[in-house]
């Protein structure tokens, strides 16, 4: 790493820290103003006494009678020490987070990896075989997937699995939750059960991701294939395969590094839908449930998590960009 690259990356990191601070502040203010935990407590059956509602709200730090800035100040002073407060059901947000994040990561990891690799390969392959039947088939299939919202894709996969199960007479494909509750047996059985539950959620994330990346990759790859420097590489005596792999694919991946960063946004949204539809108790379904319960502390925690992840992937894209694109190193 040369000093220019380090300076560039340090500058970006500082900028991201500033963005994070402003974003956290805004999301705290917005969540506090839009959600009404008081209404949630008052609406309980039987209705709790007013004094108890007041006490509970104050204890959670979400009492709307306390000035907003004071609430935010208290929240920040705890948050910087890693304490994100308590959920509306009085459990620790941190513990809930720890439980949920693992679920989401298990769900996202396989789907994203599979989708990205399949998409890039399909796109590059399509570009190399432009306008042949295989390219057209991949294109039509990608368009069809891109036109199906994630939630609909998940619902359709679930319906398909139900149909298969009906026809088979047993539960061939399981699609509710992360594992069969109360199942016991050897480690192999348990692992197999988890893998079976992963099938549909992974597919619903991977298919959409692959379709998007295949389109981008096909486009950038086509640009590169028609470029002068690739012709120069061929003229220099490189075989077609070597020219495409060492000069073509690498260059075509540079603009993709930006897509990786912003792809996270779409991914997070898609994952929330997928979790909710397949009954996984991850970050996304936590967020959706928390809004229903006016659980300010949990909503803010998910927001902070999302912001950190977006900025982190933005930073990774910068690093990737610096590694792939020599112009960053010299400027």
């Amino acid at each position: 790493m040369s000093p220019t690259v380090l300076a560039y990356l340090t500058k970006r990191l500082g900028y991201y820290a500033l963005l994070l601070a402003v974003a956290v502040f805004l999301s705290y203010v917005l969540s506090s103003l839009a959600l009404s935990p008081r209404g949630y407590f008052e609406g309980r059956q039987p209705p709790p006494p007013a004094a108890s509602v007041e006490a509970q709200l104050t204890e959670l730090g979400i009492n709307d009678h306390t000035p907003l800035m004071e609430r935010f100040g208290t929240w920040v002073s705890h948050a910087v020490r890693g304490d994100f407060g308590r959920t509306i059901d009085s459990s620790s947000v941190g513990e809930e987070f720890g439980r949920r994040i693992g679920v989401s990561l298990r769900l996202l990891f396989a789907g994203t990896l599979l989708g990205t690799v399949a998409g890039i390969l399909a796109g590059a392959w399509g570009a190399l075989r432009q306008y042949r039947f295989s390219d057209r088939a991949v294109t039509v299939f990608a368009f069809l997937l891109l036109s199906t919202p994630t939630f609909l894709l998940a619902v359709l996969l679930k319906l398909g699995a139900m149909k298969v199960n009906q026809a088979a007479g047993t539960e061939l494909i399981s699609f509710t939750g992360e594992k069969t509750p109360g199942l016991s047996g050897s480690a192999g059985t348990l692992l197999g059960d988890r893998a079976a539950h992963l099938l549909l959620p992974t597919l619903s994330i991977a298919l959409g991701t692959a379709a998007a990346y295949s389109r981008y990759q096909r486009g950038t790859m086509l640009d590169v294939l028609g470029s002068d420097f690739l012709r120069t590489a061929r003229a220099k005596g490189l075989t077609h395969r070597r020219a495409v792999l060492t000069h073509g694919l690498r260059t075509a991946l540079v603009p993709m590094s930006t897509f990786f960063a912003y792809g996270f946004l779409a991914l997070f949204t898609g994952a929330a839908f997928t979790e909710k539809i397949f009954g996984w108790h991850g970050m996304g379904s936590w967020f959706i449930d928390a809004i229903g319960k006016s659980d300010v502390n949990s909503v803010v925690a998910v927001n902070v998590f999302a912001a950190v992840m977006v900025l982190l992937s933005g930073f990774l894209a910068d690093v990737l960009h610096a590694a792939l694109d020599p112009r960053v190193r010299t400027s």
Binding site: Y15, L19, L20, V22, A23, L26, S27, L30, S31, A34, L35, S36, Q130, F143, L144, L146, S147, T148, P149, T150, F151, L152, V155, L159, M162, Q166, R215, Y216, R218, G219, L222, D223, L225, G226, V254, P255, T258, F259, Y262, L265, A266, F268, T269, A272, F273, K276, F287, I288, I291, S294, V302, N303, A306, A307, V310, D318, H321, D325, R327, V328
Partner: protein, 319 residues
């Protein structure tokens, strides 16, 4: 190809140089030759017809309840069947389609206007204007739109769907604005902009007259695709109850209502789901065809389809 024959040759009021019309003709010819794009355009036209004229063909409105027909399969009386409380699915789906189309169009339009104004101003003025606007763009990008819209949705229950359009638009313009910004930065160095500057033309006028027309190809394509994106966001949010609220219906709420019983009563689910996919597919084909037709660099060499030029390397390297 045939329509251009009637274009009058001399129109003193129009300041457009003859090259512009020639370019339009080339674009039209390319568009007409693209089978996917034509199919997309025709399907979209039919869908709009269906959504806005279709409801007049049936005596049922989307709120009518036929107590004698609960969960009834498609018949002569109820073309697409009825749902669990006896509402006509045809009337409901068409009403939902109307709402989703309106939301998609309005969102894309608002977002594109916002993106072109902010992007062009940031790129043209540079300096602190650029820094502040870029910071604002990056800030909005930090949160998935879905999170913020979901958070404020409980407060919007009574306000109706037009506020929902505003929210979708506010979170849907940033990436387009970035591209417009980077395109503006390179346009700014061109001779015709320099000439206008030296003649003392007002900067806002330069942006309106010289910058925006030159990024219009990109904006048209982007706005088209944004319609599909907006409809997908709308239906997703509505599916989880964060978007269009009952008694109003959209394709998203209809899919949510029908999905649980989709295997037993398929008509409650598949009409809404099918129309949604067909609509977005048609929009994407149209957008892709428009890109091929409008992109001046396409057609020269083997590259025909260009990638969606969102957040290009140039954009990142320039900052």
């Amino acid at each position: 190809m045939t329509t251009t024959a009637t274009v009058p040759t001399a129109d003193p009021a129009a300041s457009a140089p003859p090259a512009a019309r020639g370019r339009g003709r080339v674009a039209l010819r390319r568009f007409a030759a693209n089978r996917n794009a034509l199919t997309g355009a025709v399907v979209l036209l039919l869908l709009f017809l269906l959504a806005f004229a279709g409801p007049y063909l049936t005596p049922w409105s989307h709120t009518d309840i036929d107590y004698s027909a609960l969960r009834e399969a498609p018949s002569a009386d109820h073309w697409w069947g009825t749902n669990r409380i006896g509402q006509d699915v045809y009337a409901q789906v068409l009403h939902g389609l109307q709402k989703s189309l309106l939301i998609g169009l309005l969102t894309a339009l608002t977002a594109t206007v916002l993106a072109s104004v902010v992007g062009a101003c940031a790129g043209y003025f540079g300096g602190w204007t650029d820094r502040i606007m870029t910071f604002f763009i990056d800030l909005l990008l930090v949160f998935p739109a879905f999170l913020i819209i979901a958070i404020v949705s409980p407060r919007l229950r009574e306000r109706g769907w037009i506020v929902f359009v505003g929210l979708l638009a506010v979170f849907g313009w940033m990436i387009t604005a970035r591209v417009v910004r980077s395109m503006t930065r390179s346009l700014k160095e061109r001779e015709f902009v320099r000439a206008a500057q030296l003649m003392g033309v007002h900067p806002l006028r330069i942006i309106a007259r010289h910058i925006l027309p030159n990024v219009s190809s990109f904006l048209i394509v982007d706005a088209t695709i944004a319609v599909g994106g907006a409809v997908m966001s709308e239906t997703g949010l509505s599916y989880f109850g964060f978007g269009v609220q009952p008694p109003d219906v959209s394709l998203g709420t209809l899919i949510a209502d029908g999905s649980d019983a989709a295997l037993t009563y398929p008509w409650m689910f598949f009409f809404a789901a099918g129309l949604l996919v067909v609509f977005v597919l048609a929009v994407n084909f149209l957008g892709d065809g428009l890109r091929d037709a409008l992109d001046p660099t396409s057609g020269h060499h083997r590259t025909r389809r260009r990638p969606r030029r969102k957040g290009t390397t140039h954009d990142r390297a320039a900052r």
